[in-house]
């Protein structure tokens, strides 16, 4: 099945810093989503972005489907941005619509 790799695995920032999280995938995709898992374990939908660029406040994401990667940008980070960020993809070569998740990036933003 499709492979998803996220980097870096861990990231520690000072409040106000910017960061870029990367998601590489091994095959073409129909769907790519970014999630933030908060301290209570909830998965918060950030972006549905199988291709192109989207922005939502301090967060933006870009997916270059032809080169099989996606980037999540966090600007002016805040302590509330801490948590695990997951990338999940649906491979276009599979018959179903399951999402395959990466291992995640653990982000810690210090005050």
């Amino acid at each position: 099945g499709i492979q998803v790799e996220q980097s870096p695995p861990d990231l520690i920032l000072q409040e106000g810093a910017n960061s870029t999280l990367r998601c590489n995938f091994s095959d073409s995709v129909n769907n790519l989503q970014w999630f933030h898992q908060n301290p209570w374990g909830q998965l918060i939908n950030l972006f549905y972005i199988p291709s192109g660029t989207k922005q939502n406040g301090r967060l933006s994401a870009t997916t270059v489907a032809t080169e099989r990667y996606s980037l999540l940008y966090i600007s002016s980070s805040q302590t509330t941005d801490s948590g695990v960020y997951f990338c999940a993809v649906e491979g276009s070569e599979t018959s179903g619509s399951r999402l395959t998740f990466g291992e995640g990036t653990q982000l810690t933003v210090n005050p």
Partner: protein
């Protein structure tokens, strides 16, 4: 904004007991999913459901698991005889259609098997 809801938020059960986790998908969605996340690990797909039948399942989804849409709004995951290794966060998701549509996730049910 419509959202997926799940109950209970946390369930504690003894090994060997049956548990039913409940989900209410977004009302006009047609595809429903269950995923699980063992503590500290990534989220894994369990099963997808469409038109009152399983459309896809993973190797994790063995005979101990079953899913059902008992009425027009609920979608359930049953674990027949829980094991310690079933302890995990279980997420329900729904989407308007199948492939290439955004999946909307519920807040999860934390299952603890003792």
């Amino acid at each position: 904004e419509p959202e997926v809801t799940q109950t209970p938020s946390h369930q504690v059960t003894q090994m060997g007991q049956e548990v039913i986790l409940r989900c209410v998908p977004i009302s006009n969605h047609l595809y429903f999913y269950w995923y699980r996340q063992i503590l500290g690990q990534k989220v894994e797909f369990l099963v997808s459901f469409y038109n009152n039948e399983i459309s896809e399942k993973s190797e994790i989804f063995d005979d101990q698991f079953s899913v059902e849409r008992p009425d027009g709004s609920n979608f359930t995951l049953k674990i027949r005889s829980t094991k310690l290794e079933d302890s995990a966060m279980y997420f329900c998701a729904s989407s308007p259609a199948g492939a290439a549509y955004e999946q909307y996730f519920g807040p999860g049910t934390r299952l603890t098997v003792t």
